[in-house]
Amino acid sequence: MEASIITLAGALIMGLGAIGAAVGVGILGSKFLEGAARQPELIPMLRTQFFIMMGLVDAVPMIGVGIGFYILFAL
């Protein structure tokens, strides 16, 4: 019983964390492509900003994956 609840908790942490970040990075990527198509000369600057934002957004599900793995395997 307890083991299955922990498994569910790990699945929820990873899954729900991934949903939000996936939507966020998806919007970010579409806007980046849009901007790059409108003004190709800005691509280097946009790419830097894109990666900064992606790193910020990406951190949350990554931390979720770490905590999820911890409670799944080590706890």
Binding site: M45, T48, F51, I52, M54, G55, L56, D58, A59, M62, I63, G64, V65, G66, I67, F69, Y70, F73, A74, L75
Partner: protein, 288 residues
């Protein structure tokens, strides 16, 4: 590869325990290899288990984190200083080329973000970037190599990635936080800084609310810096440790793709830490 005698969760916990040096109180019961003895007086010693490390409390030092981060910092300083001393004006070759590329990259980014006169910000950004990058790169060393090597020399716990220890990332973030406070007060004076905290988003009648909002925003900066880097590297290390539970002939199928993806993450997180530092310092310089 999983040890023969350790269970899976013991193996993982073992990899997540730091080599801790601290003070055990008098009367503490140490259990080692089945038999226990009680300490007659307080003793500074190495922890033999995760429980002992936890019982050492706040004044304990993680020797592995300290050692690896200082060693990597010295590697960065000495190699870059060596390149700077032997730099030639002609076409750069090899390592000099690489170093110039990193410095130019950081310099461009700092110039586009930080528009004030302070010669220390770009070197700070460079130091943070390269240092964190080197610390994160230790993640790509297979998880068992260095701990097993350390075991041969009688050291039982060894975590080689300093940034997977929240103490290291929080230490760096607190350093940045002190710089933010220092430059805020230097640029605006104590009164100006306090006014910025108290009178900002809303007019003066909402002072407590403003103060609360701005203080939370201020404290959130170092905390988010520290936890973002720590969380990413901890998660990455965790995945590598889980992968190393597989039989050794299967490990490459997962660890190679994850390592390749991880090259992106370690660079990105080092870059984000240094860029956010520069952004925060630029905000400390700006007058509102």
């Amino acid at each position: 590869m999983a040890g023969d005698t350790l269970s899976k969760s013991e193996y993982i916990s073992h990899h997540l325990t730091n080599l801790t040096f601290g003070k055990l109180p008098a009367g503490y019961e140490r259990v080692s290899e089945g038999h226990s003895h009680v300490l007659e007086q307080a003793q500074w010693t190495l922890a033999h288990s995760a429980q002992e490390a936890a019982d050492m409390g706040f004044m304990a030092v993680h020797l592995d984190t300290m050692g690896w981060s200082i060693a990597l910092g010295m590697l960065f300083c000495f190699s870059f200083a060596w390149v700077a001393r032997s730099a030639t004006a002609g076409v750069p070759t090899g390592f000099q080329n690489f170093v110039e590329m990193i410095i130019a990259f950081i310099d461009d980014n700092v110039k586009s973000i930080f528009n004030h006169n302070n010669p220390w910000v770009a070197p700070l950004g460079l130091t943070i970037f390269v240092w964190i990058f080197l610390q994160n790169t230790m993640d790509l060393v297979p998880v068992d190599w260095i701990p097993e090597l350390a075991k041969l020399f009688g050291v039982h716990y060894m975590r080689v990635v300093p940034t997977t220890d929240v103490n290291a990332t929080a230490g760096m973030a607190i350093g940045v936080f002190i710089l933010i406070l220092y430059y805020s007060i230097k640029q605006k004076g104590v009164g100006g800084f306090a006014a910025e905290l108290a009178f900002q988003p809303l007019p003066k009648w909402a002072l407590p609310f403003n103060l609360f909002l701005e203080l939370v925003g201020l404290i959130a900066k170092p905390i988010s810096l520290a936890l973002r880097l720590f969380g990413n590297m901890y998660a990455g290390e965790m995945v590598f440790i889980i992968i190393s539970l597989l039989p050794f002939y299967l490990q490459w199928t997962l660890s190679v793709p994850w390592a390749i993806f991880h090259i992106l993450i370690i660079t990105l997180q080092a870059f984000i830490f240094s860029i956010l530092t520069v952004v925060y310092l630029a905000m400390a310089y700006d007058h509102h």
